[in-house]
Structures are given as C-alpha cells and as structure tokens.
Symmetry: C2
Subunit: 233 residues, 2 copies
C-alpha cells in the first residue's frame, strides 16, 4: 500500500498561525518535503521548524527563481520522483507550504505531478491575504461585495481594466512591480484607497500608506484596495 | 486600562483547522462572544466548543436572518454595548468568527462599532474558500492567474458580466440562488468547469458536479469555477 502525500498550509509566517491539524501532522511526520531557495533558506521550513521531528527525513526542493519556467519545472520533476519513491515504499510524505497550498502555492506543482498516482490530502491554511487585512485593520468584503485578486506582474493595461471595475482588490506579489501598480492606482483614482503591507504576521511586518512603500518592494508584499466608509454598518 | 477585543477566525468548520493562536486565546478567555441564530445554534461556538473554558462568561449575539438590515444592526448595536462594558472594565473579550473575521465575517459589524474606542486584534483564520478548493482537489490560482470572488445573491446580469471575464471564480453564499447561478454558468459556457461544494471540512461535507447540486442549496455552500488543464505545469 502506498503512502499519502499531505500538502500542508502553514499560514502567512507566524508559526502560531499554523492550524492544529498542520501541527499534528508535522509532529508525526517521518518524511518532510519543502521548497527552498537554491543554496538558501526555506521560508516554509522556518515556519514549521519547531514542529519537525529531529529524526524526520527531509526532502529539500531547491527551486530556481528564474523568469523561464523550465528550471523550476525540472526541480519539481526531480522532487516528484523522490517523493514518489517514498510514497511507493508506503511512507507518508508531509509537504510544507507557505500560506495555503492551493492559493498561489508551490504545492500545486507537486499535486499536478503526483495526484493521479497517489492519495493526496490538502490541509488548507491561512492565506497572506487575510493576514494582511488583519494587519491593515481593514475588512476585505462584507455582504454582497466582490473581491478581485490580481498578481502584480500582470500587464499595466490589464491591471488598469480590472482595478477600474473592482470593489475590494488585493494585489499580490508586488515586488519590483510597485511603481507600475502605483501608477495604475493613480490612473483609476484609487491610490488613496490603497494600503501597502509587507511580511504580515512576522516580527518585521509593516503597514504603510501607498506613497511610503519601498521601491522595489520585497517579494512578500501586497497592496489592499478597499472602497467606501464602513459599508457594512 | 481597557481590555482588548480579539476577533478570532475559527476556520471553515473542522475544529482542528483552528490555528494554534486561536486555540490559545480561546482557552485563556474570560469573556467569549459569538453570533447565533435566534433561539438556535451557533456554528462559531460549535467549532470552538472544546476550547472554551467552563467558567468563561458568554455573550451570545442572536442575529435575525431577515432581508432587512435593521434587525441585525440592532442586534450588533446591543452586543457592542455589552462588549464595550466588559472592555471598559478591563476585561479582554474573545469574539468567535467562522472562517476569517474580515472575509465575509460577522465580526466586521463589531469592528465597525468598537475599533475606534478600544484596542482590537484580528487573528486571521482559514477561509471556506481554500477549504473548498482542498475538498474539490482543485488548485485555485497559480502564477499570474486572477481570482474573482462573487456572492451568489448578486443580480444575474452582474454575475454574467463578471463570470464572462473571470479566470478562476469562487461563488459564495449559493443557497437559494443555485438555479440562477447554474443558468449564468451555462450562458457563459462554464458549467462544465464548475464544481459544487457544501460544508467543507465538516463530517457532512460534499463535492458534486454542478448538475447534481441540491436546489435550494444550504447556506454553507459554494461553487468553484476553474479553467484550463494544469496551467501551472
């Protein structure tokens, strides 16, 4: 009998925002897999560190951060082969994922390669999106409001079109796209509705007016755009 | 010195999907507030039940489910007065919220009434949206994909316009709007991309093809619309 692949959402960064289920599964793990920078740190492993058993075998997935997709695809191909061997041998594999595995999470790349051959269980986690809303003290959506989630790397014309018709918007992956996003928000008249957040729930977390956001922003940054004054009252 | 109001996200329903932080704060609570149906159950209290101290004082917020907003507003007005008294007396108040407090959460109504007068800390939780994606075994968004979240009660014309241009869409609060939503998805050619979910992470959870969804659907139901075949590979 093959083992089960667990895709475990760890939440936005504060280890205390792991779920009880994530904590239990990680503490019982014999094989733990996680993405890491090439020759660098693993944010996911850092979140879960205190729960990982000392004698667990670790599968480190070094993912090249390149504009081309092929190097990262090759890394996930290799990792999937290694994970498949463990699963075939009857071992469960616990895969650590920042945030939620299915919300811009790298676990999707393993899921796409392994879910047709092995049992998979996805454990949802707290997303950076709602963690940023909590840090900003801004409700995202209430009642019949719409929410639009946009990656910052989208082209300027597309961002402009989507933001022009949004109610609440969340712009992910701001990074080096900050200047473009700020320009778009000015164009559509929403710059004053926007707040910039970085590293929410980590000790270095920041919430700033858009005008004071650092350029370039770090990768783990986000812009929230909320409209109206207490529409939920 | 006044107490702190905690808005605690409890996640989608499985008590094990509470965060470690939620669990700790609830176990240490002296005053616990939560929404409930009039003379009926509290879903939020049910999720947190095993963590609530026996000797905690409970503030039950009975919220009338009426089309008009005034009765619910009056209920939140009364609850805010009672909570403000506890906070003014120096007591912390732990408010229990299904899902995430700022993602279609009723905590927003208390936040709007109390956040300008008392310290508030919001603890984000797992949303039903990513729990449904996990149950459906469907990744929501990867790379530079957009996500559109739409409440089911929106008018047919608006749903049609938004779904026609969506990539991944999540339709919340399906309930008695199922027939309308199904019609819209047929119109925009997305019915076969849709999956129906109810009570994700609870023992009675269900994932069904859209054609087999019950009509009317329960309040805690959702439709996910995903496009493309493994675009993240």
């Amino acid at each position: 009998m093959s083992g089960t692949l667990y895709g475990i959402g760890l939440g936005p960064g504060d280890p205390e925002l792991m779920t009880l289920k994530a904590d239990r599964l990680i503490r019982g793990a014999r094989v733990v897999a996680y993405p890491a920078l090439v020759a660098g740190e693993s944010f996911a492993r850092g979140i879960a560190a205190s729960a990982i058993p000392e004698d667990a075998r670790e599968i480190r997935i070094e993912v090249p951060m390149t504009p081309e997709r092929a190097p990262a695809q090759a890394a996930y191909d290799r990792a999937s082969t290694e994970i498949a061997e463990a699963l075939s041998a009857g071992e469960d594999v616990v895969c650590l994922c920042e945030g939620d595995p299915f919300f811009y999470g790298s676990f999707m790349y393993l899921h796409a390669r392994l879910a047709d051959r092995f049992p998979v269980e996805v454990v949802p986690g707290v997303t950076s999106m709602t963690a940023c809303a909590a840090l900003a003290a801004r409700p995202l959506v209430a009642r019949n409001e719409r929410l639009t989630v946009l990656p910052g790397p989208l082209p300027e014309a597309e961002l402009t079109a989507r933001l022009a018709e949004c109610e609440t918007a969340v712009i992910m992956k701001v990074g080096r796209h900050l200047a473009k996003i700020r320009q778009v928000l000015e164009t559509v008249g929403l710059a004053r509705n926007a707040v910039y957040l970085e590293r929410a729930t980590l000790p270095a977390e920041k919430a700033l007016p858009l005008a004071e956001a650092p350029d370039p922003a770090p990768y783990f940054s986000m812009i929230l755009v909320t409209k109206g004054a207490d529409p939920w009252l």
